[in-house]
Structures are given as C-alpha cells and as structure tokens.
C-alpha cells in the first residue's frame, strides 16, 4: 500500500494531499485545526460543513497535535494526540509512512519594545484571526505597526470589525509605493490587486499610513493607553525628535513571519538562514521528507499551494506511484519565489530595533527575562550557542519554548537562532499520555521499505 503523511492543512498541505491522492496514493493529512484551511483560510470552527473537499483517499485528521516524529526503518513514525489541546481525553495515535510532507507554516513575529508586554498589545496575526474569524476587534482605537504588505489586510480587517485604526506604521518603505509601479520587481504579483483594495479601504477611512515609522513604545499602567510612534532611519534607529504620542487602547504588530521548524528539525532536515532547504522537487536533505509553504521561505498562499502540489507529487513518486513531473506547478514555484525574494528584500528587519529596548524591557515573556539580564548573561558568561544561552539566561525555557522570543533573543545575543526551534517534543503532552502505549497503525512494510526510490526531476 502506498501512503504518505502530510502535516499541516493550510494551502501547502491541502495541495500536497490532493496532488498525492490524485496519483493514487493514500494520504493521512494531519492538522491542529478543526477544519481545513490553516491560518490563511481560517474557517469558523462552529459553522456547519467545510468549504474545502479533498479526494476520497485523503484522511483528514483534524484537531491533532503532532508531538513527535521518530525515525523508523524505512521511514518515519508520526505521533499524534487527537482532541482539544486542553481537554482531558485526547486520543493517541501513531502513523508510519515512507514519505512525509511537512507544511507546518509560520507564525508572525513580534519585536519587543518597552510596554509590549502590556495587555492590549497583540501580534498582527492574532488581531487578524480575531477580526476575521470572530468579528472581534482587539480595541476601539488600534495602531497597526510592523513591516510588510500583511499590515494592510490586518488594518482592513480591524476596520471591518468596527475598530478605528489610528495609524499604520510601516518600518520600511511604503507598500503602496511599488503597487502602482508597472515595472517594479513586484509588478504582476497576483496579490497586488488585493493590496490595492486594502489600500483603498484605508484611504476611505482616512487611516494615516506612514512609512519608515514604528511603534517604539506602548504606555499605560495596566493596559495600553497610548503609544509612541517614531520615524526610523535606514537601519531602524529612531530619529531624534520625531516621536509622536498617539492615544490607543490596542496595538497590533507584525514584523514578518517565523517558520514553524520543530518538526522539520525533528525529521533532520537541513535548515539554512532560518528556512528548510529544498530541491526542485521540494525534497529536503532528509530522504523521503518533503517541505512546502512558509517552511521553505515566506511567500504567501499561492506560492505555498504551488510548492505543496510539487511536494505531494514528489512524495507520491517516492513511495512508488507513477508520476509525471508537475511542470506547471514547478514553473509557478519558480516565479512565485522570484516575487517572494523581491518582497522579502523590500521588507527586511533591521537591527535598529535593539535600541528601542530599555534595560528593563522584557525580551522573554514566559520567564520574564529583561534585556539587561540577557546581556549580562551573554557578557559575563560568554556563551556562544543557543543551548547554553538558554540555560544561563533562562530565555526560551518557558511555556512557549522560544516560539515568541527565540529569534529576537538569538539576534540580541549574536548567536544562530535555529537551535531555539529544536523541540523534539513538538507540542506539550501530559505525562500520562506519554506513558500510554499507542497503537502503531499501518506500520511500514519492511520488504517494501527496502527499496530505495529516488526522486529526480
């Protein structure tokens, strides 16, 4: 029997599952959400039905947390707990497959600034999810800050949910600058039209959109009452005297995205510059492990879906299905990556943010580690790696396991941050659940797994 496991049911994972299934391969599609779509196509969990349908030979395992991936002879064993994360009755299950497609996506990055730990400060993604999924605005007067085109739909969703967006502060050059430029690097980008509409929404609601600006401080005794927005120089250092105080009861910040790497690292995929390295067939350095979507680079839903289609076909071929190279999807991946590269080059994160922090600004919220404590640990103990940095500073050791602070802390400390994503237990599991024997379904056929099939396009 030919079977693959796809982890993540966003645009990349759904496309991978469909592509593999269309080649006659059985697919187990595992996702944390109650419904298909992932973050991008977030569906109302309570509404009836599902807006997506997948081929019949795709088994969608919803509300499932993959907590470990373990190497076994000839493939991989994926360990899940199924059921609400906080519920007492999660069911254990283990699935084996010779090929995996990882499509675990990314979460948005928040940079710390004084006051970022006040209630009322949200990530742009959280503000967007609340507005789109439940029609709830995070505040009445919201300042949106960060960098990249994603800030526009976030602001538009907040307006849609009834908030007044006080200002959008873009730390790099204006998104709107290149939207209308027919010869710019991003001309023809499929999202361009959408962004023009969002920009129109902001204009109609007279929302100031300021480039080279950032929220560098949030003020308030118990909750956010106001923020300081400053102009930034090219390295993101605040320009002296440009500070303005804006009244607001909420802030939504997003500085790009961080890929969800722990399962890729558990499957021993090579990671470079924070992303999983893949070949033209979306194959990683680990045999039989394919990656698609934001894991391989931040490029949006269309690129993710194209990568997913390629990865699903390649995984199907890896387990023995007759597969023609998916040349059209591969072409879409190539052009999508060009746009993504241009976009990422236009919206970098510059090091000036280090100086937005004061000595007592918290850099790791779970363990309440301040910038001063972090720098002291680095200076006095001269640590050179993530493992020892965590243990001497405490940063990244708390409940989020460095998901929020890891990149920022690594950047401040001057070490490679990939180590923060090394989480062999990929999501929390109760001791009693861990102690339980879980049935291994459909173990890999030893004889079948003896054959080594390469994937070459």
């Amino acid at each position: 029997m030919r079977r693959i496991v796809v982890i993540g049911a966003g645009p990349a994972g759904m496309a991978a599952a469909s592509a593999a299934a269309l080649h006659g391969v059985d697919v187990v599609l595992i996702d944390a959400g109650a419904k298909l779509g992932g973050q991008y196509f977030r569906q109302d969990a309570l509404a009836a039905g599902d807006r997506f349908t997948l081929p019949r030979n795709v088994e969608h395992v919803a509300s499932a947390a993959v907590w470990a991936i373990e190497p076994v002879d000839g493939g991989h064993r994926v360990h899940l707990r199924i059921g609400p994360a906080d519920g007492p009755d999660r069911r254990g299950r283990a699935v084996e497959a010779r090929a995996l497609v990882l499509a675990t996506g990314a979460y948005d990055r928040a940079l710390p600034f004084p006051g970022w730990d006040l209630p009322g400060v949200f990530t742009a993604g959280a503000a967007q999810a609340l507005a789109k999924g439940q029609g709830v605005a995070v505040g009445d007067r919201v300042v949106v800050g960060g960098t990249g085109p994603f800030l526009l739909p976030v602001a538009a969703s907040l307006i849609g949910a009834g908030a007044r967006v006080v200002e959008v502060a873009e730390a790099n050059a204006a998104v709107t600058g290149w939207l209308g430029n027919p010869v710019g690097a991003l001309a023809g980008w499929s999202k361009g039209g959408e962004l023009v509409r969002y920009a129109g929404t902001l204009a109609r609601h007279r929302v100031p959109y300021r480039s080279r600006s950032a929220v560098i401080e949030a003020h308030g005794s118990d909750v956010v009452e106001s923020v300081t927005v400053a102009r930034l120089d090219a390295l993101w250092n605040p320009v002296q005297g440009s500070e303005r105080r804006l009244e607001a009861d909420a802030v939504a910040v997003g500085f790009g995205f961080t890929p969800q790497l722990e399962l890729a690292l558990a499957a021993r995929c090579r990671v470079e510059d924070g992303f999983v390295v893949v070949d033209a067939a979306q194959g990683t350095s680990a045999p039989g492990v394919f990656a698609a979507g934001e894991l391989t680079g931040i490029g949006g839903a269309d690129l993710a879906a194209s990568e997913g289609a390629v990865a699903g076909a390649a995984a199907a071929k890896f387990v023995g299905a007759a597969v023609e190279p998916p040349v059209r999807a591969m072409a879409r991946v190539r052009s999508g990556r060009r746009f993504a590269a241009a976009l990422n080059a236009a919206y970098p994160v510059r090091s000036g943010w280090h100086d937005w922090l004061r000595d007592d600004t918290i850099v790791c919220r779970c363990e309440e580690i301040t910038k001063r404590a972090l720098y002291r640990a680095v200076d006095e103990r001269d640590v050179g790696g993530v493992r020892s940095l965590k243990l001497v500073s405490g940063a990244g050791l708390g409940l989020c396991q460095g998901r929020v602070c890891g990149r920022n802390v690594a950047e401040l400390a001057g070490v490679d941050g990939t180590g923060f994503a090394k989480r062999p237990i990929a999501s929390p599991i109760r001791l009693a659940e861990l102690a339980e024997e879980e049935p291994v379904e459909t173990p890999i056929d030893a004889e079948e797994s003896g054959r080594v099939l390469g994937v070459e396009y």
Partner: protein
C-alpha cells in the same frame, strides 16, 4: 579580549570537567587556555540535571572523590562569589538532599545494605519507614516499601557552574575559546608535549589536558594516545512549571544498579526533582547507541511511566520539552584522571559518566595537585590512565 599566544596549560573541552580543571590550574597560578569545538558548556554539561550525589555510589574510589567534591562545591562557589561577585557565582546551588525509594519489598534489602556500607565510610544515610518517607515527600506514591534519606545530596545548574568557573579563568589572565577544534599535539625533541594544533594555528604550551567528556576517546586518538571513553546516551523530560510537588532529589532504588551496569540495552530508572523555576526534571535513561541523537519515543515513554509510578500526582502534568546528551563512559565506570603514560605533558580528565557535575571540583583539584606536584587529598591510583580498562597498550 586579547587572544593569548602561549599558555602553561591548554585544556581541551569547556564542559564542567574542563572548566573545573582550568579553574583549579589557574588558581594555582597557571595561564590556561580552554578551547572547545562547540559553545562552552554546550555539550554533556548542558544535557544533564546537575546531580551532586553521594547516595548512588557504593564505598570505593568514586565515593571518596564524591565526598571530597561535595565538600568543595560550596567552598568553590563562595570563593567565586568573593572573586567575581554574586551574579557570576549564581549557580542555583541547592543542598536539598536526596530520597531513594524502594517501591517493592525485594529492593529494600539491597538498599539497606548499601546505606549501611555508606554510613560506615561516613556518608549520612537515614533509613525511613513508608510514613516517614511520605511525610518528607507528601506526593510520593503510597507504594513505598522502604526509603533512605541522604541529606548530603545536592543539585546545581551545571551550565551556570561551568560558565562561572570559566569566567574565573578569564579573570585570572586565561582565555576561553569556543568553536575551536584541537587537531593534535606538537612535541619537542625529547618527545614531551610542546603545543597543541588549533586549526592552522599552534599554541605553545607545557601541558595539555584532555577534558573532552564523551569525545575524550576521539581527541585521544588525534593526540596519538588512545584511551577508552565511550558515549552513553541519556534523556531528561521537563514539565511545565508547577507549584511545589517534589522537594528533594527523589529516585527509585533501582537507579543505583542502573548506574553501575554496563548494559548496552536501554535502562530506565526514575529520578524526579524540581528546579528553581518550578519545572520538574525527570530522568534517567541509559543507552549505548554511539552518538546517535535520534529521538526514541520508547525512551520517553518509559521515563514517563517510571516518574508517574513514583509520583502519581504528575500524571496530568504537561511535559514541555525533552533534552539529552551523552555521558562519558569507561568500561570500569571510574573516571580517568592523571598523566598519560605515553607522552609527558599530556593529561586526561574524563570518564565521569553521569557524575561529572558532582565530581568536577575534586577532579580539578586532583589534576592540579598532580600537575603541580602537590600531595593530593584523594588517592589518585584508581583513576590512573594506565589501567587495563582504559588503555589497551602502554608505551613507556
């Protein structure tokens, strides 16, 4: 910081043993360079729990070293505090004692015999009834057949301890160089160690200490003087922070047998303790799988089972992460501390298996005493390098 070009001693390996050796040598007035091919204190030292134990050792040379080391740890921390200040000397030292628990009747006899033998050599070990044990640790299983309390057991945070000692080495004019691999030794005409090759650079020195932990075997081969040190893998589970559940270091009586065994197969024995931040650490596993780092869920499963058996209250507690490492294992389970018989100027300090954190200060002191020609407090004979278990062929 300026890079030093010559040193009295180059210590290879910036884990707890290398750090303690370098600390003791620099305290004796030597200029020490410590190199590590990775981040300082980032290997085995970052992969353990910080055990400073007397309880798990039967009378013999290792217990002698452990007793000396247990006395030295608080003294050393105090002297680092005086020299470098409170912040650097903060190593989460907790002299909280250990509780060894037998959960079936068969284990009670051997546990009492061990405790009696330990008492005879001066280790404080108090036999407890089931009720006394549960009064001490209220969340302990009610299936206690017998227990022994060891007030002398302690715990510290090993990465803080190692980096504190390395900071002292720097403050005394030495240097710590991470991400620097030692490729081999340089000898003078008389065949004595004259330097060490680091990448394309050679550092002139009078002596080299191999403190590479589980990689000590690798370096010894590169140095041309092989010793037998092998990796023995271990894993630890870490729970989310909890209100106070476990007061001491609590472990199952079969731990002692697991520590002393030479089995290749997986051995799991519960060791449960809280840390300063409220997380609970759950060990211990032993496996001889080379340097294979692949996750084995079966190991985690058995750790979880053994912990819930000791503390049923932990069943609903979430495990946040797992980490692990490789213990430096010698075939006769004793550390290797002393001069290499083949090359004058080459010294070894390794093979402490899972006890390196506890044994570090006495190891550093013993090594410094031997190198400086001082009378050592602990008899070095059983740790010598030219014993059959460690060295196959001795050239003199």
């Amino acid at each position: 910081m300026s890079r030093i070009e010559t040193a009295d001693v180059v210590v290879i390996g910036a884990g707890i043993i290398g750090a303690a050796s370098a600390e003791a040598l620099s305290a004796a007035g030597m200029r020490v360079l410590v190199v590590d091919r990775g981040a300082p204190a980032g290997g085995t030292t970052a992969g353990g729990e910080g055990n400073v134990l007397l309880s798990d050792k039967a009378p013999g040379p290792e217990l002698d070293l452990a007793v000396a080391s247990r006395r030295l740890w608080p003294e050393l921390i105090e002297s680092l505090r005086a020299e470098l200040g409170d912040e650097v000397a903060r190593v989460e030292w907790e002299p909280k004692g250990g509780l060894v628990v037998a959960t079936d009747e068969d284990a009670v006899g051997p546990l009492s015999i061990l405790a009696e033998a330990q008492r005879e050599v001066g280790v404080e070990a108090v036999d407890l009834s089931r009720d006394e044990a549960r009064a001490m640790e209220p969340h302990l299983t009610d299936e206690v057949a017998g227990a022994v309390h060891y007030p002398g057991d302690a715990q510290l945070q090993p990465v803080l301890a190692a980096t504190a000692m390395l900071t002292a080495v720097r403050a005394r004019g030495g240097e710590v160089r991470g991400w620097t691999e030692a490729h081999g030794l340089v000898f003078d005409d008389a065949g004595k160690v004259a330097g060490v090759r680091l990448g394309d650079e050679t550092i002139a020195c009078g002596a080299v200490v191999n403190a590479c932990g589980p990689w000590a075997g690798h370096f010894s081969v590169a140095a041309g003087a092989p010793i037998e040190v092998l990796p023995r893998r271990g894993m630890v589970l870490v729970t989310a922070p909890l209100p106070h559940v476990v007061g001491r270091k609590v472990y199952a009586a079969d731990y002692v047998a697991a520590v002393a065994s030479s089995d290749v197969d997986l051995q799991v024995s519960a060791v449960v303790e809280s840390t300063a931040t409220g997380t609970v650490l759950i060990g211990s596993s032993r496996q001889r799988v080379g340097f294979d780092e692949a996750l084995q869920v079966e190991v985690l499963r058995r750790l979880a089972r053994s912990a819930v058996k000791l503390f049923p209250v932990l069943a609903g507690v979430p495990v946040m992460r797992t980490y692990g490492g490789f213990r430096p294992y010698t075939p006769d389970h004793l550390p290797v501390i002393g001069a290499d018989p083949r090359f004058a100027g080459l010294w070894h300090a390794s093979g402490h298996e899972g006890a390196g954190i506890g044994l570090a200060p006495a190891t550093g002191r013993l090594l410094a005493d031997l190198m400086c020609g001082r009378e050592p407090e602990v008899d070095p004979a059983r740790f010598r390098v030219d014993r059959p278990a460690v060295i196959a062929e001795v050239r003199t």
